[in-house]
Amino acid sequence: MDPSRKRKIRLVVALSAAVLLATALIVVSFSAGTSQLLPSEALAQKPDERFELGGTVVDGSLRDQGGKLEFAIQDPNGSARIPVVYSGAVPDPFREGREVLVRGELEGGRFVGNDMTTKCPSKFTAQ
């Protein structure tokens, strides 16, 4: 086989491998992805599967029910809010007024979650 043809074949093989991998990555990530929604978006779409509810913990809404936390999450602009029942590990920075991301699903009008991420308090990083 002459070298230029060999090179062409190699290129085609490499490119098709790359395309295959890329397709696999896209398919897997879109099927594994969970959407992140603000309370206003969640109320509008009413998803029936697990998603991440993001927003600010409403001041004065936090109740500790012994093993379960109840609080409300609202859009950062304060427009819509959803009550949350949370059981699971509470990260250290969690408190009222902080931005959080809770994973769970809507049951009735409430969001039932068991896993969360908190954003670092801006008090220490105000620019």
Partner: protein, 717 residues
């Protein structure tokens, strides 16, 4: 003139100096005039001096709690322990920028000093690039986030360092990561110099490979320290969460790993030139991206500095550097042709290439997953994110392939291999691997975790390969020189440090991944509420909540927390007895609304995890005390006159200990976690071995200096 003014002046002069280095370096690069090259180099030394001054001024302000500095008021306070005052600098946006550019100037000065008599063509342009990067960071500090901003009316007390950051690792984790990020700027700058001058041979690699290795070592150590920190302190109970910022630090490490492997192919065989310059460009871009991600607030991460204004200039800088680098590589493609071709598929260079492709593949998957929220929002309009299962599911199998390659590579020789040679090389390691599988299946329950089983087997394979390599090398040397075995071994390693250091690193990575496989496949976690006297069983441990503890002004870990609620737990495992003491530290809130007593109970709180290390498994305990019953006493305390607040706090805290409510505990038993840190230690030992200058290299350097001097004298004569 206040010290803040001096600091700002140092930055202004620093920016001028850096820009001068760009101009002088570029001019020297074009014209080849040595005096300008020397002048640019000295400008970088001067920059180091100026930034050292700025660092000292800022740290001094932290130590004396000078709250007229905005930064000091924001993240330090008089009651912050001195150790954490010193580290508070890089917990802020502006302070961390200063640290970044300071480290850059230190690394730049070191490399320019070491190469001052070599690389006369490449070094001037490299100086210009280094000056340019430094200038960008100085520009950011002067126009966006000044570390020397002052407050007109300084507060009496500062906000204090974020309690989450009060951990000994804070002193080392960020500076080490930054050293890693910054270190990759050096080979990048020299690669650009080499491309501009069309000197794409191995010279720039020889001059900077040690810096690449230093950067790789620091970055790896920084990442490892970060995961040790999150495991032992942050109350997550995990060492890796696939958080965007964690991913951002791992990506340049992966491409850096690929780079330090593939440059060997260029040194030995003159191949992969385009690949190497592309890799170092990618590594530098990813290092910038890592620095940028923490600051941009575009992805949700625990590490983020919060929304800031730095995003735009940073993005413009990254885009500019990327476009310029790609254009440069493309315009020089005729100079980047390989000297040689691949002779056979079964050769060391092919396995280096495969290892590179696998590393890049892992990096691409991480990149995709990390930026998936942005990608999906752009494509579908909804922000979606992929969690740890996505990363674990894809990356675990690829990592196994990588470990397999790292075992096979060292057994192959350059160019081509004969099958009889391969049979001899692979016989013993394969036998050991087979014995390991059989033993694991017969005596343990490793079969339940398929990936873990494969990983254990591969680790045994890698370890045997490396032992065999040391053995064969020693034997060969002994036959040649007749030295006794220990002498032969130490001379063998001493004269081939990079090679044998690299082998040690391979073993370390295999051990580390073995810990990862074991702990993620067989870990058990329980969240329980216990009354004093109650017991929970997790795996073979019986954990009993004996009594609550209250510490007032007596924080065991020295973070300066005035209050700490915890527990004493009796743990029983077979015949073993011991006690564990997890706690939760409470830091006073700045909010007046909570009252003089209440603010001590309602502020930030951090978990002080207690860990029982073991070679087989760790027992990890965290507590979340329930302070609801203290509301009444706190309210009564708040109503007392302010001067009784101290006594009231003590009384309220005692109330908790006297009549303890049930507390929430999280218990985790993770097998083999210790092996992650042990493996990491082996990696670092191997890296140090590879970095240490070998006696021969030192002699070569001395001889070349003599030769250069002789040359000069002769030319004068």
């Amino acid at each position: 003139m206040s010290s803040a003014d001096v600091g700002t002046a140092a930055l202004v002069v620093g920016l001028g100096t850096a820009l001068y280095a760009v101009g002088a370096g570029a001019y020297a690069g074009r014209t080849g005039r040595r005096e300008w090259a020397a002048s640019a180099r000295r400008a970088i030394y001067a920059l180091l001096g100026l930034l050292l001054l700025a660092m000292v001024l800022l740290e001094a302000a932290y130590v004396r709690s000078d709250f007229s500095f905005e930064l000091v008021a924001q993240n330090s306070s008089t009651d912050t322990p001195t150790f954490y005052k010193l580290t508070a600098m890089w917990s802020s946006q502006a302070g961390s920028l200063l640290l970044w550019v300071f480290l850059l100037s230190a690394f730049s000065s070191a490399v320019l000093f070491l190469t001052r008599r070599r690389l006369r063509e490449i070094a001037p342009y490299a100086t210009a690039v280094l000056g340019g990067v430094a200038a960008f960071f100085l520009f950011l500090m002067l126009f966006y986030a000044s570390p020397f901003a002052t407050l007109g009316s300084p507060p009496v007390e500062g906000s204090g360092l974020n309690p989450l950051l009060r951990h000994p690792a804070m002193m080392f984790h960020p500076p080490m990561l930054y050293t890693g990020y910054v270190g990759f700027t050096i080979p990048f700058a020299f690669a650009v110099g080499a491309l501009l001058k069309r000197r794409t041979g191995p010279e720039w690699i020889r001059a900077t490979r040690r810096f690449a290795l230093v950067a790789w070592t620091f970055l790896g150590f920084g990442i490892l320290l970060g995961s040790l920190w999150s495991y032992s302190e942050l109350g997550w109970g995990g060492y890796w969460a696939w958080d965007p910022v964690e991913n951002a630090s791992l990506m340049p490490w992966l491409t850096g790993t690929a780079f330090i492997h593939s440059i060997m192919v260029q040194e030995k065989r003159g191949m992969l030139r385009t690949w190497n310059v592309s890799l170092i460009v990618a590594t530098f871009m990813l290092a910038l991206l890592g620095t940028f991600l923490v600051r941009s607030g575009i992805l949700d991460s625990i590490h983020a500095f919060g929304e800031s204004t730095l995003g735009k200039p940073f993005l413009i800088f990254i885009a500019t550097v990327l476009i310029a680098s790609v254009a440069l590589v493309v315009s020089r493609r005729s100079d980047l042709r390989s000297d040689a071709r691949v002779d056979a598929l079964l050769s060391r260079e092919v396995f280096f290439l495969l290892n590179n492709l696998v590393l890049i593949l892992i990096c691409v998957v991480i990149f995709w997953g990390t930026f998936f929220p942005l990608i999906s929002e752009a494509l579908t309009g909804t922000e979606e994110s992929v969690g740890p299962p996505f990363f674990n599911g894809i990356i675990a199998p690829i990592a196994l392939v990588l470990v397999g390659l790292s075992a096979i590579g060292p057994l192959l020789t350059w160019r081509r291999n004969s099958f009889s040679l391969l049979r001899r090389a692979f016989a013993v390691p394969l036998a050991v691997a087979v014995v390991t599988v059989v033993a694991l299946l017969a005596f343990t329950d490793a079969a339940e975790g398929g990936l873990a089983l494969v990983m254990f087997t591969l680790a045994a394979f890698v370890a045997t390969v490396v032992v065999q390599e040391f053995w064969r090398g020693t034997r060969a040397r002994r036959t040649m020189t007749g030295e006794p075995p220990p002498v032969a071994l130490s001379r063998l390693v001493g004269r081939n440090r990079r090679r044998y250091g690299g082998y040690v690193v391979h073993v370390g990575i295999a051990v580390l991944l073995l810990g990862v496989a074991g702990s993620s496949s067989f870990n058990e976690q329980k969240d329980v509420r216990l009354e004093p006297g109650e017991t929970v069983t997790i795996k073979d441990y019986e954990v009993t909540y004996r009594e609550p503890t209250v510490a007032i002004e007596d924080d065991r870990s020295g973070t300066g927390a005035p209050l700490s609620f915890g527990a004493v737990l009796d743990v029983r495992k077979d015949d073993e007895h011991f006690t564990m003491r997890p706690a939760r530290n409470y830091y006073p809130s700045q909010s007046e609304a909570m009252g003089p007593v209440g603010r001590y109970f309602g502020g930030e709180a951090t978990s002080e995890v207690d860990l029982r290390w073991g070679l087989k498994q760790d027992l990890w305990l965290a507590i979340q005390p329930d302070l609801r019953k203290l509301k009444g006493p706190i309210r009564r305390g708040n109503e007392l006159p302010e001067r009784f607040a101290g006594q009231a706090i003590v009384a309220v805290a005692r109330h908790y200990a006297d009549d303890p409510p049930p507390a929430a505990f999280r218990a985790i038993v993770s097998p083999l976690v210790v092996w992650i840190w042990l493996g990491g230690g082996i990696v670092m030992a191997g890296a140090l071995l590879a970095l240490w200058p070998s006696p021969e290299a030192r002699r070569r350097r001395v001889t070349s200096l003599y030769a250069a001097r002789l040359g000069r004298e002769l030319s004068r004569a």
